[in-house]
């Protein structure tokens, strides 16, 4: 088993009076793509937000690359070269596509500093980003915004990419684009933690899988294993993948 870039141990999260995560144990292996599956309301988004420090764990530990980041603030966690693509995409609609990308490129203070080569690569993955470069991001369609959200997250090389349902509401052709993008990202060595309902993602990209239910991880292991065991799939997810 390769070493774990990110690991959660016994993480509990409370939001106000609500106890959402009841002791989550999760390992995300370095350089691999781990999928987080589960029904709606299982606690997947909460887990991601807790990792990012948007909500703080009330109990348990989160280790990133050997450091204990449980109590860290969000900007500091992002500073460890972690990128987050939330479920609602987090696009700044009043800013242009270019400004959205610029903001995400932390090392840049002017356009010139964004790595041109990398931008070209991003344009090939997500053509609308180039097409609407100077347009307000709010004018993009849902699918285009989704692409911008991911493009923004990878404008610079990242150590860990945390993505929450990138294919929601996308047309199948675009989903393929998205899957290609993630495949290429994985090839560059980026570790990815992905929450996704779409089966094709799982089949083509998933190395490891963790299934959540009721605020806990109820199954974790290699994707291969889950893909071959239909009974297990049905019991965990209620359907066959």
């Amino acid at each position: 088993m390769s070493d774990n870039l990110l690991s959660l141990n016994g993480v509990h999260t409370h939001i106000g009076a609500y106890h959402i995560l009841h002791g989550v144990d999760l390992q995300v292996a370095r350089g691999q793509l781990t999928m987080l599956l589960g029904r709606n309301g299982a606690g997947k988004t909460t887990t991601l937000r807790t990792i990012m420090g948007l909500w703080h764990a009330s109990k348990g530990r989160i280790m990133f690359d050997g450091q204990d980041i449980t109590a860290w603030d969000t900007p500091n966690i992002a500073g460890l070269n972690v990128a987050y693509v939330p479920e609602n995409m987090g696009i700044f609609s009043d800013l242009t596509v270019k400004e959205n990308m610029l903001l995400a490129a932390r090392k840049a203070s002017r356009t010139n500093d964004m790595d041109d080569a990398r931008l070209k690569w991003i344009f090939t993955l997500f053509p609308p980003v180039e097409k609407f470069w100077n347009h307000p991001a709010g004018k993009l369609s849902g699918g285009q915004k989704q692409m911008l959200a991911v493009a923004r997250a990878i404008v610079e090389p990242r150590t860990l990419l945390i993505v929450d349902e990138p294919s929601k509401g996308l047309a199948p052709a675009i989903i393929n684009n998205m899957i290609d993008a993630f495949a290429q990202l994985k090839a560059t060595g980026t570790t990815i933690l992905l929450v996704e309902q779409n089966i094709n993602f799982a089949k083509r990209l998933g190395d490891n899988v963790a299934v959540m239910d009721n605020g806990q991880v109820v199954h974790a292991g290699a994707m291969q294993e889950l893909a071959e065991d239909e009974a297990l799939q049905k019991s965990l997810l209620g359907l066959a993948i």
């Binding site: 990012m52 948007l54 603030d73 969000t74 900007p75 992002a78 500073g79 987050y84 939330p86 987090g90 700044f92 609609s93 009043d94 800013l95 400004e99 610029l102 903001l103 995400a104 932390r106 203070s109 100077n134 347009h135 307000p136 709010g138 004018k139």
Partner: protein, 326 residues
């Protein structure tokens, strides 16, 4: 380049101005009133711009913004009082040399108070709206009383410097010189704000932060520091506005903060919390309205602004330029 721009709110300003013309009758009176309204509106905008950004960026309701206005005005009385020979001179440039430091000192003092206010009054209650309302009001009362301790509880006159008194004649209309200055200063402030917001990275952060604070933090920016900066700038601008308001009324009272506060709230509600452009439109509308009704039907002046606010809210419940994502 924004391809389609929401022009309707901007059109409200000329619509109001022109719509009132038949009621006023004489074009020269109308011109005087309109310039007065624009001047007042610009001053209000200077004060309101800081408050709307503070709310938009950090979701903080500062009901005590008025204290910075009053402080700025009182500081100006002290500074200008010290520069009697410059203000007494009929030379325009000498007057400006006197007013300019008064403005700078007022801004510096208000900004400094803003720093303290953010640290001790606002920061402990981030995220709790009710407490923010209560505490910032308490802060304003404390501030008002401290002003009374330092400067005394009575009204103090703040006469215009010699060279800025009087009016310029345009045909039949008398346009007060000071009001022209106010419009110019207001436009400069707006231009600087607009430039910072659209051309600098800080401006980018502010615009993004107003829309989605969490996402900006997720991108690695310590937005809390930015917020302190915006709060201080907002307070400094309020101080500047206070100086200008004091000169406009030619006197200052400790209660002026609380009085102008109400107008400011009306303005940022009309404009949309978090929108600088909205604040400008709201301020101009309020300024014009106050002057037109002051001339036509003086008794209902404040009510007219409230009526304006209600009408706009019925049209757009979030203000004319609502900031998305909230």
């Amino acid at each position: 380049m924004n391809l389609d721009f929401d022009w309707k709110p901007l059109a409200l300003v000329p619509v109001l101005a022109l719509g009132v013309l038949p009621f006023i009758g004489s074009p020269s009176t109308w011109l005087t009133l309109t310039v007065a309204g624009l001047a007042m509106g610009m001053i209000i905008f200077i004060i309101a711009s800081g408050l709307t950004l503070v709310f938009g960026l950090m979701d903080v309701l500062n009901f005590g913004h008025g204290v910075f206005i009053a402080l700025g005005a009182f500081v100006a009385t002290t500074v200008l009082g010290l520069m009697g020979d410059w203000t007494g001179s009929p030379d325009l440039w000498r007057n400006l040399v006197a007013i300019f430091p008064a403005m700078l000192v007022a801004m510096a003092v208000s900004g400094a108070l803003g720093l303290a206010f953010e640290r001790f009054i606002v920061r402990p209650v981030y995220g709790q709206h009710l407490k923010q309302i209560l505490i910032t009001m308490g802060g304003m009362i404390i501030g008002e009383e401290l002003i009374k301790v330092i400067w005394g509880p009575a009204q103090i006159a703040l006469p215009l410097p010699e060279g800025l008194r009087g009016a310029v004649l345009m045909g039949d209309a008398a346009i007060e010189k000071y009001r022209l200055l106010a419009v110019v200063v207001g436009m400069i402030v707006f231009a600087v704000l607009a430039w910072v917001l659209s051309r600098t990275k800080i401006g980018l952060l502010i615009r993004a932060g107003v829309q989605d604070r969490e996402m900006v933090e997720s991108l690695g920016y310590r937005i809390k520091r930015l917020f302190v900066g915006v709060f201080v700038v907002g307070s400094a601008l309020a101080g500047l506005g206070g100086v200008m308001w004091g000169l406009y009324q030619q006197n200052v009272t400790p209660q002026m903060g609380a009085q102008v506060n109400v107008l400011i709230f009306i303005v940022i509600i009309i404009g949309g919390l978090g929108s600088t452009g909205g604040a400008l439109i709201g301020a101009l509308l309020v300024g014009l309205m106050a002057n037109y009704t002051g001339f036509l039907v003086p008794k209902v002046a404040l009510f007219s602004n409230i009526a304006l606010m209600v009408l706009i809210l019925l049209w757009r419940p979030q203000g004319v330029y609502p900031v998305a994502n909230r």
